[in-house]
């Protein structure tokens, strides 16, 4: 029977009198909702606070996004967006998703993820304030807190991974990306310390490039190359296609990352080039598997969240091209480098926040309504978010980054960048409004009227009709 012909059915059979006794209780592995679902949501809420802080600050000083990409205030914004928001979301998702994917409980005391949460956000705050005041000892201190948190995550991820039996690319992506995250934070701390108290005669720009690329390609790419192939089939009702491409993409990216990191700091430039080429090959392999998996989905219409994820992945592909051009140019062209950075942030934001708009309703529903199912009417998980708001957010998000990129390209007046900043503010406001609306179900669970309840599709709907398979 083809997948699309599967039905949801209730089959009634009669058990002979000699039938075995009911199954003995087999405890679940205790992995369903980490921290009762509150831990990942706490990371999400803190991430949104960081995002609002960035756009709120940009609203007060809207020309800041027109500055050179190495300006400390731009660095502060970048760190509010990347570690403050997008990385925080990913960390929360890893803590929740890893034990479910690996089928074993987190191999760490319950307090560890919460300590990580505190370290991550206190560290981000100290780091951002350090950038604002050009106090690099504060940047180093904040970075050290983030690095310690990343180390806790890496240790937890490796212990959990080694305890499980799953060894495919999706499983590998958790500990590997967590390790790159620790390396990223460590290099960032060293860059800040070396800037304040010179220790080694290493170019600060080379260190920053290594720090940025370990984080972007090492953490985010490694995670995307694995977690994507768990989440996208789940939310599009598909199955993983081309698993060998998935594995090849991940392996190429890992090899390329090592070459690139060494090449950027110490080795001749051809070393870095070889690394970039290998990473791009890895991205191509992953893209082949991604679009094959997407093409095989049973849910033809993509939700706004999944659509944002796909758009984000495409923007990251463009970013790879822009990054290669920026690196290949004999003389650095700041506008190209800035556009590369904008494409990275736009693409990562679209993919991470897009997937977040799928994950948050699920977690909120599980916590608020999971225990009520079968006991009282509950709303559908899909009704917790608002698809129109999510579509509007994506449109505003893309428009904002298009304006910011155009501002960097023509660079005549700051007005274009200011317009982009205001559109970005609108986009973030829409996204936050939708997420807060979803989170409000935790505070005030709704009880829908039975007639208005779309929770369970009609028995006559596709995939959902019920039929007896056999009888007495």
């Amino acid at each position: 029977v083809a997948d699309h012909d599967r039905t949801v059915g209730v089959v009634e059979t009669h058990v002979p009198s000699s039938a075995p006794k009911p199954p003995s209780p087999t405890p679940s592995t205790g992995v369903a909702l980490v921290g009762g679902g509150l831990l990942p949501l706490a990371f999400v809420v803190a991430a949104l606070v960081s995002l609002v802080a960035s756009v709120g600050w940009a609203a007060v000083a809207p020309d800041v996004l027109a500055y050179h990409h190495l300006h400390p205030h731009v660095a502060a914004h970048v760190h509010l967006w990347l570690p403050g928001c997008l990385l925080a979301v990913c960390i929360g998702v890893i803590y929740q998703m890893m034990p479910v994917v690996l089928g074993v409980a987190l191999r760490a005391p319950v307090s560890v993820p919460w300590i990580h949460l505190a370290l991550h956000f206190s560290g981000t705050g100290a780091m951002v304030l350090g950038f604002v005041g050009a106090r690099f000892e504060h940047v180093a201190l904040g970075g050290a807190a983030i690095a310690v948190g990343a180390l806790l995550l890496a240790i937890t991820a490796w212990r959990t991974f080694l305890h499980s039996g799953r060894r495919d690319t999706i499983a590998w992506s958790f500990p590997v990306s967590a390790t790159w995250l620790f390396a990223t934070a460590a290099v960032g701390v060293f860059a800040a310390v070396n800037r304040r108290w010179p220790i080694l005669p290493v170019s600060p720009v080379a260190l920053l490039q290594a720090h940025a690329h370990l984080g972007l390609a090492g953490f985010f790419l490694s995670l995307l190359q694995g977690a994507t192939f768990q989440l996208v089939p789940m939310f599009t009702m598909g199955t993983l296609r081309r698993p060998r491409c998935v594995a090849a993409g991940f392996a190429c990216a890992q090899a390329g990352l090592v070459l690139l990191a060494v090449g950027l700091v110490a080795a001749p430039s051809w070393f870095a080039w070889f690394g970039i080429t290998t990473i791009v090959a890895g991205v191509v392999f992953s893209a082949i598997a991604f679009f094959a998996t997407l093409a095989g989905r049973r849910r033809r219409m993509l939700d706004p969240g999944v659509r944002a994820f796909v758009v984000g992945v495409a923007l990251l592909g463009l970013a790879a091209v822009a990054g290669s051009i920026a690196y290949a140019a004999p003389n650095p062209v700041p506008a190209v480098t800035s556009i590369y950075g904008l494409l990275v942030v736009a693409g990562l934001s679209a993919s991470v926040l897009g997937m977040l708009s799928k994950i948050v309703p699920f977690l909120v529903w599980m916590r608020a309504y999971g225990p009520r199912v079968g006991r009282m009417p509950v709303p559908a998980a899909t009704s917790l978010g608002e698809p129109r708001l999510q579509s509007l957010w994506l449109a505003a998000h893309l428009a904002a980054f298009a304006l910011l990129a155009a501002a960097r390209a023509v660079d005549t007046t700051p007005q274009l960048a200011v317009s982009g900043t205001w559109v970005l503010l609108v986009a973030v406001a829409i996204f936050v409004a939708d997420t807060v609306r979803t989170l409000d179900h935790l505070r005030r669970p709704r009880t829908p009227q039975p007639a208005a309840r779309p929770a369970v599709p009609s028995p006559t709907a596709t995939h959902a009709h019920l039929h007896p398979k056999s009888s007495r």
């Binding site: 997948d3 699309h4 599967r6 039905t7 949801v8 059915g9 209730v10 089959v11 009634e12 059979t13 009669h14 058990v15 009198s17 039938a19 009911p22 199954p23 003995s24 209780p25 087999t26 405890p27 679940s28 592995t29 205790g30 992995v31 369903a32 909702l33 479910v100 089928g103 789940m234 939310f235 009702m237 049973r298 849910r299 699920f362 529903w365 599980m366 999971g370 225990p371 199912v373 079968g374 006991r375 509950v378 559908a380 998980a381 899909t382 929770a455 369970v456 599709p457 028995p459 006559t460 995939h463 959902a464 009709h465 019920l466 039929h467 007896p468 398979k469």
Partner: protein, 87 residues
């Protein structure tokens, strides 16, 4: 004859086993449908839930409701969870 989980067996007995196949539904609908079917399960009866993945969230909820369960992977990669309400 089409039927709904709540309507399939209005007078279930301890000799009845229901099977519900929730493959092909987006999360968390499989959990929702199985728990709704479980709600109609009488003491001694059993429900077999067929899912695409190991239903970890379901198992936790079954534990919370004091229902016994056994989960097995089948040859086609799907999972069969046998749920029983103790007599």
């Amino acid at each position: 004859m089409n039927s709904h989980p709540h309507e399939s067996d209005p007078h279930p007995t301890h000799e009845t086993t229901h099977e519900i196949d929730v493959r092909g539904l987006p999360p968390p609908e499989p959990l929702m449908r199985v728990l709704e079917a479980v709600a109609t399960l009488v003491a001694g009866a059993r429900l077999v839930a067929v899912t695409e993945r190991r239903p970890l969230h379901l198992l936790a909820e079954l534990d919370a409701r004091g229902l016994s369960h056994r989960c097995e992977e089948t040859a086609d990669g799907s999972w069969r969870t046998t749920i029983a309400r103790s007599a």
